[in-house]
Amino acid sequence: MTFVRRYKDAMRRLTPGGLSDRVLRGLNRPPRLRRRRWAGAATVAVALAVILAVTWLLRPGTVPGGGVPVALAAPDYPASTTYQEAQEAYRQAPRPSQDYLTALEDFSYAAAGSLLKTAQGNRLCSPLSLALTLSMLAEGAGGETQRILLEALGMEDTAALRQETAKLYRLLYTDNEVGCLLPAQSLWLDRDIAFRQETLDILARDYYAAAFHADLDAPETAQAIADWIAESTRGKLGGHPDAFRQDGSVGMLLYNTLYFYDQWLVPFAESQTTPQPFTLEDGSQVQADMMHARRTGVFYQGEGFTAASLPFQNDARMVFVLPDEGASVEAFLADGDKLARCLTADQSPDARTGTIEFGVPRFSYEVQLDLREGMEALGLGGLFTQEADFSGFSSELLCLASARQGATITVDEKGCEAAAYTEMAALAAGAMIQDTCTLILDRPFLYAVVSASGVPLFVGTVANPAA
């Protein structure tokens, strides 16, 4: 008998009968613990519904036990395609209205200016990721909260926002052998919160948002969120669950992720990449790996900068804006209009066609952004106050506790890979909205050790902790 035959027979004999049934039953349970040497016979398996059946049969407010998040709504994502199919689909796809696209562009440049102004060093944000998260939030907001969200997004009502967002999602979604642009959304509701299924269904249908019921304080949920972000950003973000642990006050988490990868229409030749000095803001220099290429294209010179772009294979492009010598990038972040003008200058009527000598340094970095200050500058401060209204999700939610974004980008000779996630956390009713105080004991202070009955056991002062 051959090795192959014997090996196959052995492996088939080792595959336990009924395994698929157990897997199907167990999908809604955490993995069972390894049996110890002294353990008895096989553990008892409790029959539970398949997770997708639970998704659709679950009545509002009912929650199965266990620490593993339960899916409440699941979107039907577009299929991956070939590059040729993607080109054809792009031509045929119903487009969002020009009004919506203009409003989205205006919001994006305003948001980029506000967010990047609050950061230092290498900066990065995803205005689209923020816009899609705020759009989801608007769907479940009421009253004045919904009004300020719609106003920031430049939309009249949620019905229009919903339709246009769905068209935008289908237009943008790209997954072919050349590159991809993958937006994804999810909603995580605490298991003690009663929620409105109708809102979750709208979010699944029009925003392609998956919804989960989970114990938001449980480490398993933090792991599930980290895994979800890692999956939807092809491993570029997410990962460590500690970044997603909650403290017991959060009732809902909203996420958008965006993953982008595309190849340059014409790649840079690696043989042309050479070390070259890069001058920092303070005048000092560092060495950068500079990629070189000569291309025929459109460029703009004027108003204190030069701008040109390089196209990707799947129709996106990367715009580069170089402030004139002596000018700083800060001036361009001053307002959304100025930022929009310089980042679209290569498309303006004053742009010229000619030969462009490109020198682009390879770069790769990751950032974390607190969005609150930037959102307040966009008129969205009301989301963080006691007056916020998220009753469309649940009557048991208060205001936003936090909003943040993680993002990363890599640019090299082949193309660009970038990813972002936006997280918004809403407080649960019953969580105390507290004033904050800082107590840093960095000068002489008093202290006492006091017994449970109130008697001071020791009293002292610290004049110098290093003595």
Partner: protein, 165 residues
């Protein structure tokens, strides 16, 4: 999405891929209990994934890659290192089958995985390379070394271990 269709699709997926994933996980973890846990974890991740691949070849590659990833995570966990793997639970009564199985299980992990995917699942090298995220030549090298070690362990009893790719 229609719940009935979705449930049926998921059930078909689980029934089709569970045996392959279980055997792969058993090959890597050497423990039936862990292997079953790995299979559940892989399907849980598939359900939670916002962009699960739909096309057959991509889906198989995704499932294999995820299974290897989950096995690796379990091996690295502190809990795993503190506990003792259960031995003697491999129910193979035929001594020659036992000998072949043990010889493969004693191989280093990367050779063991390549031997399993190639000989048990009949995967061509190109498909294995894609599923494991490795260059084709690396996979060929793993198979070559794995077969050489098996020839030594099994004392040249099997002619088909001598054939080249």
């Amino acid at each position: 999405m229609d719940a009935t269709v979705a449930s049926q699709e998921m059930e078909a997926l689980v029934r089709h891929y569970t045996p392959m994933l279980y055997r792969l996980a058993l090959t890597r973890t050497r423990n039936p209990s862990d292997a079953e846990d790995v299979v559940q974890e892989v399907f849980l991740r598939y359900l939670r994934s916002p962009h699960p691949p739909r096309e057959e070849e991509h889906r198989k590659a995704w499932l294999i890659r995820t299974a290897c990833h989950v096995c690796r995570n379990r091996a690295a966990s502190a809990w795993f290192r503190r506990t003792v793997p259960l031995e003697g639970e491999i129910p193979l009564e035929d001594p020659q089958e036992r000998e072949v199985f043990d010889a493969v299980q004693r191989l280093p992990l990367r050779y063991r995985t390549a031997i399993y995917l190639h000989y048990m699942e009949d995967m061509p090298v190109a498909q294995m390379a894609k599923a494991l995220g490795l260059p084709v030549n690396t996979v060929k090298s793993h198979l070559h070394r794995g077969r050489a070690l098996l020839r030594d362990a099994l004392k040249g009893d099997y002619d088909d271990l001598r054939e080249t790719l």
